[in-house]
Amino acid sequence: MTTLPSATRKKLGLVIDLDTCVGCHACVVACKEWNTGGYGAPLSDQDAYGASPSGAWLNRVHSFEITPAATRCKGGQGPAQSAQIVHFPKSCLHCDDAPCVTVCPTGASYKRAEDGIVLVDESMCIGCGLCAWACPYGAREMDAAAGVMKKCTLCVDRIYNDNIPEPDQVPACVRACPASARHFGDLGDPGSAVSKLVAERGGVDLMPEQGTRPVNKYLPPRAKADIDIDGNFRLAELAMPEATGFLGWLDRALERLG
């Protein structure tokens, strides 16, 4: 068993905007690309060109369709107006009460007191996989080649790296995201940009009932304005009241031009 720090100086983490994420997987591949040559063993791929390719990834995007039962599409009447696709990127949430750390038999999994990042010290990891079982989010993946557990490091080898220009000292996924759906910062500081964003947009914890107190936050999709709004806004109200007949408005429009 490994103990968690009683508190951390910072709570570095991600804020992921589900209203903006288009599910393009840019963050997924940028993460793989940086980390396969970065912290710890490479993120290997097995059967890479074969029947069942699989590899270690630290960040994945899942797409869900949400279909309220009452609004399923009806034949000949077009689509189900309320059915939606939500793209859901998922990586380690760097929980305050990280069960993956406390379950670790060797002390390889740990949460850093300095910034709250949860890391695996691969030199101590025996590849037992207990942490992956303990994580309710499925955020850890065993690397099949190296036999060690891999997980999001919040790009700890980027965010403090003096060899990288200051604006690029952010996680690779945040650096790459074309839709600005990913934000990085100190969620322990209520004045930080990410904390303000969470407050403004009603950011939520993922599966709070698990009691893990995740640092990462998700901004929920905004309500879509596509049902029951017809009739609220009509062109007739905009039209010039005196418009009558075939282009009755035209002469008056031309008069105004002089």
Partner: protein, 955 residues
């Protein structure tokens, strides 16, 4: 209950971490950063390639680059896997087995080039038409077209004909430019945005960056698409339209605006042909053409004086309605009146179109109201004086902040040209073209039709073609037909089949060459176009045509040369394969002469340069083409002594001049200080590399809007070398070239269409935007569903499944079936169905989906691969469960009553009508593999390794 730790506790815990775990917070990253241009799709983002120990450590977006501003998509980051792909060809290949077997031997470049010359030289000396040279998704059409022109064959085009020519051509004819490379929404100022027919593509990162800006500003986005994935998923409103009815929807929006007078009359009078007088002389020659004065200028009626005036008369007050009698006694009416009458037809009312479009009439009315409200009640003003081409000074730019973007979804239909026209006319009615907050042109656009070439096709042995192949016909006089009315081009572009085929018709080349209709060819020369797989309609048929022999035992298409970097399906059907480099090993230019990377406020172009040296016997195709040009002694490629003018593509990029002082790249010309025009500068590429691989030149503040009519813009553009003189034009609500073709169909004029095409030309060549049902949907019933494809964001325009990372994201493609159809057929996820069209039948796995139009099934395109291709193992899911809808789509329509078969294309432009497809489905027995299946190809490269652990040496 916040627990506040003491500083002492924190320091102690941090010390403990440091003692227990060694962590290098600042590891070494890379030896150097090479800034070049991505080529994982067609976006052309700037990339920073981090190199370490001679290998690619990682690739990230270039923060300074105008296209991607530092971001990068999934494909871009997966570039490493593409660059080191096991599917890369390694040396020139000569076919040893039968066509389609994939049996080859590797040969030297000297042998390969000598062989190619021995095939091409006699063709040029006798009949250059016998060469068909077509290129795929390459970005070097300014070179490839010039090469083909110097060779002298009329048979050249790139892939636009099967991609989005309807969008491009309708945009050029109507506005002087369309979307994407021609222009973009004003992301910073627009207040209402509509996206039509965009899956997750065209273009990729700029759209995502733009949508993010709109989200930040709370701007409403309406997505019109049968499928609600990607951008459509995050839009505020999704309009799940029935495929092929976008034109009807747009006409209904225009109907509402016209009905209620929500039209920018001032804008239309200034900038469009709304007041131009159209001769109304039904049944007589000249009907539907503009009334013109003795100088050929279109006439308008001055409503102040009642006099007929030239359209550009400064002091006139043009009338928009009312019939006038011309001096010759004929009647003429203004375009605007004809357009209004047309749009106000009851058939264009929301109630009339709702059922067909699958959109409630109330929704159509509301969206029209929202457009009008935003355009006219929320206008925006940029306080910047400017002067128009008439010399009139304006104190400010007025903007109508609604904007649109559209691409393949609306264009890949047989009614696509008119649909794209309708959308542009809607933009014009709203006055939101090239204004603040609207759609804005990117230099060198706008370019009105008169600034574009006409198509050329006159050839003779041993001589260059009469001019550029591709262009924009003004009327029947520009058709590429011979004295008997027969097509002169192998693809029949610019013939009566497709008079305005501005991008050619690549999808018809193999079929026509095989049928020897209009004639047989000797050499088929293709670059980067997977015509034996996902880039062809009727894929199985095309493979058979490529391998077919005539009665004497010779191949019907005698010789095939193909260039590709990878072991694609098309490789197996070539006789000679010229292996290309990867995008990190080559020179390229993304040129203002071609498809540049400009933004509305800046002209831009860019290069690729070899940031890694090839470790195989491969050469950049463009350098090979230049070498072949010299060996064939083509004009322009050899000097008076017969010596090669250019060493390679890099040399060409720097030293070629299309017009004096104007070359492929605009930056750092002459002594390095000249932009746009200037002598070749030997140091030019170094300057590009030092600047991050690109050049941008900003448009002056007073020249940024209404560019077509803006004196400062026109002067700046001439200085940049986009054109040599001001070519005034007006936006074309009414398209006279279409009226000219319609007259031919009615029997007027010397050039007459064949009788079997008269009806459809008369119907589709309407000079006003019209909607007619997609051809396939009008055939006999029994195919109740629409079937379409889209590319996933992580694979849009990408080259193949051999990418070890991307294939883990999209390695399978089920057929997505609406819930209602699943319920009717008792289908659950993973069940198999037979999908049948008029052309073919495939067996595929299904997945249920509700966020889709209820009459539409769809799948991801081009995931399926043929066994033996792309260095994949034969049991790869792409080769077993992956499938192509292409097998269901014929390149020809079913036989007509007169025995003729039309091309499955738009009758105006020849655009491949991929999305007209209609199908029915039946539940099938559970299966392991999709059908049809094809024999495994012999692979010219070894299968990829079992394991990839990239970056091991650095960890």
């Amino acid at each position: 209950m916040a627990f506040v730790p003491s500083e002492r506790d924190l320091v102690s815990a941090e010390r403990e971490d440091a003692q227990r775990h060694s962590l290098d917070r600042s590891p070494y990253v890379s030896d150097r950063i090479a800034k070049t241009t991505c080529y994982m799709c067609a976006c052309r983002c700037g990339i920073d390639v981090h190199l370490r120990d001679g290998k690619v450590r990682y690739i990230e977006g270039n923060r300074d680059h105008p296209i991607n501003r530092g971001v990068l998509c999934a494909k871009g980051s997966a570039g490493i896997m593409q660059h080191y792909s096991p599917a890369r060809l390694r040396a020139p290949l000569l076919r040893t087995g039968p066509r389609g077997s994939g049996e080859f031997k590797e040969i030297s470049w000297d042998e390969a080039l000598a062989l190619a010359v021995s095939w091409l030289k006699p063709v040029r000396e006798t009949n250059p038409c016998k060469l068909a040279f077509f290129t795929g998704r390459d970005q070097s059409q300014s070179l490839t077209s010039w090469w083909a022109q110097q060779f002298g064959t009329p048979n050249y085009a790139a892939h636009g004909g099967f991609c989005s020519v309807n969008m491009a051509a309708a945009g050029i004819y109507t506005l002087g430019g369309a979307f994407w490379e021609f222009g973009s929404p004003d992301w910073d100022k627009t207040k209402y945005f509509m996206l039509f027919g965009i899956a997750e593509d065209h273009d990729s990162n700029p759209l995502k960056l733009g949508l993010a800006k709109l989200k930040r500003r709370g701007v409403k986005t309406v997505a019109v698409n049968p499928v609600r994935t990607g951008y459509n998923a995050v839009a505020d409103e999704w309009v799940g339209i029935t495929p092929g009815t976008d034109g009807l929807f747009v006409l209904a929006l225009a109907h509402e605006l016209m009905r209620s007078g929500e039209v920018d009359v001032d804008f239309l009078i200034r900038y469009s042909n709304a007041p131009w007088l159209v001769v109304c002389d039904e049944g007589k020659d000249g009907h539907g053409l503009f009334a013109r004065d003795a100088d050929g200028k279109a006439l308008i009626l001055d409503r102040a004086t009642g006099a007929l005036r030239a359209f550009d008369a400064l002091d006139a007050k043009p009338a928009l309605k009312g019939a006038v009698t011309l001096p010759d006694g004929r009647t003429a009416r203004p375009v605007f009146e004809l357009l209004a009458e047309h749009l106000l037809l009851a058939e264009h009312s929301p109630d009339a179109v709702a059922e067909r479009c699958g959109i409630p009439a109330a929704t159509i009315r509301r969206i029209a109201a929202e457009l009008a409200h935003t355009a006219f009640r929320e206008e925006i003003i940029v306080e910047q004086p400017w002067t128009d081409l008439r010399g009139v000074r304006h104190e400010r730019f007025i903007g109508r902040p609604v904007s649109f973007h559209a691409m393949r979804g609306i264009s890949a239909h047989s009614n696509g040209f008119q649909t794209c026209r309708a959308l542009h006319v809607l933009q014009l009615l709203l006055g939101s073209v090239d204004c603040p907050g609207g759609f804005r042109f990117k230099p060198p656009y706008p370019k009105g039709i008169d600034a574009h070439a006409r198509p050329h096709h006159a050839w003779s042995p041993n001589a260059p073609l009469s001019g550029p192949h591709l262009g924009f016909p003004r009327g029947p006089e520009d058709l590429a037909i011979d004295a008997d009315g027969q097509p002169t081009r192998i693809d029949k572009a610019f013939s009566w089949d497709a008079p305005l085929a501005a991008h050619g018709m690549m999808h018809m080349v193999i079929s026509n060459a095989h049928a020897r209709d209009p004639y047989g060819i000797d050499v088929l020369f293709l670059y980067m176009a997977n015509m034996a797989w996902n880039s062809s309609m009727n894929t199985a048929g095309v493979m058979a045509m490529l391998a077919d022999k005539d009665e004497s035992g010779d191949y019907v298409i005698p010789k095939i040369i193909y260039s590709d970097a990878y072991s694609s399906e098309m490789v197996a059907y070539a006789d000679l394969v010229l292996p290309d480099t990867t995008y990190l090993e080559r020179h390229d230019c993304i040129s203002l002469l071609d498809r540049p990377i400009s933004e509305p406020d800046a002209a831009g172009d860019a290069i690729r340069w070899p940031v890694i040296e090839p470790d195989r016997e491969v050469r950049g195709f463009q350098s090979v083409l230049i070498d072949l040009g010299a060996r064939l002694k083509l004009p322009g490629f050899t000097d008076a002594d017969g010596k090669a003018v250019y060493k390679d593509y890099a040399d060409y990029i720097v030293n070629h001049q299309r017009r004096p002082g104007v070359g492929p790249l605009s930056g750092w010309r002459g002594n390095g200080c000249e932009t746009g025009r200037g002598a070749p500068n030997p140091g030019q590429l170094d300057r590009y590399i030092a600047n991050g691989g690109f050049s941008t030149t900003h448009v002056p503040e007073s020249a940024r809007y209404f560019k077509a009519f803006n004196a400062d813009y026109q002067q700046w553009a001439i200085g940049m070398g986009f054109f040599d003189a001001v070519v005034p034009y007006a936006y074309q609500l009414y398209l006279e070239p279409l009226a000219k073709f319609r007259l031919t169909a009615q029997g007027f004029g010397e050039r007459q269409p064949p009788d079997h095409l008269r009806d459809r030309i008369a119907k589709s060549f309407d000079p006003l935007p019209v909607w007619y049902p997609p051809f396939e949907g009008e055939l006999d019933g029994g195919f109740p569903l629409h079937a379409i494809t889209q590319r996933p964001a992580a694979m849009y325009h990408a080259w193949g499944s051999q990418n070890a990372w991307l294939r883990q994201i999209h390695g399978k493609n089920p057929l997505y079936v609406p819930g209602i159809v699943c319920d009717e057929h008792d289908l659950r996820d993973g069940d198999w169905v037979w999908l049948t069209s008029r052309h073919g039948r495939i067996k595929v796995p299904v997945a249920r989906m509700d966020a889709v139009n209820g009459r539409t099934v769809w799948t991801w395109n081009a995931i399926g691969k043929r066994k033996g291709a792309w260095a994949l193992s034969p049991d790869a899911p792409e080769a077993t469960k992956g499938f192509l809808l292409n097998h269901l789509i014929g390149e020809l329509m079913p036989e007509q009553p007169d025995g003729m078969r039309w091309s499955n294309s738009d009758p105006i432009t020849g655009q491949a009508a991929w999305y007209d497809l209609r199908v029915r489905l039946e539940k099938a027995a559970p299966e392991d593999a999709s059908e049809p299946a094809f024999p495994e190809l012999d692979s010219p490269v070894p299968e990829g390794p079992y394991q990839v652990a990239y970056g091991k040496e650095w960890t």
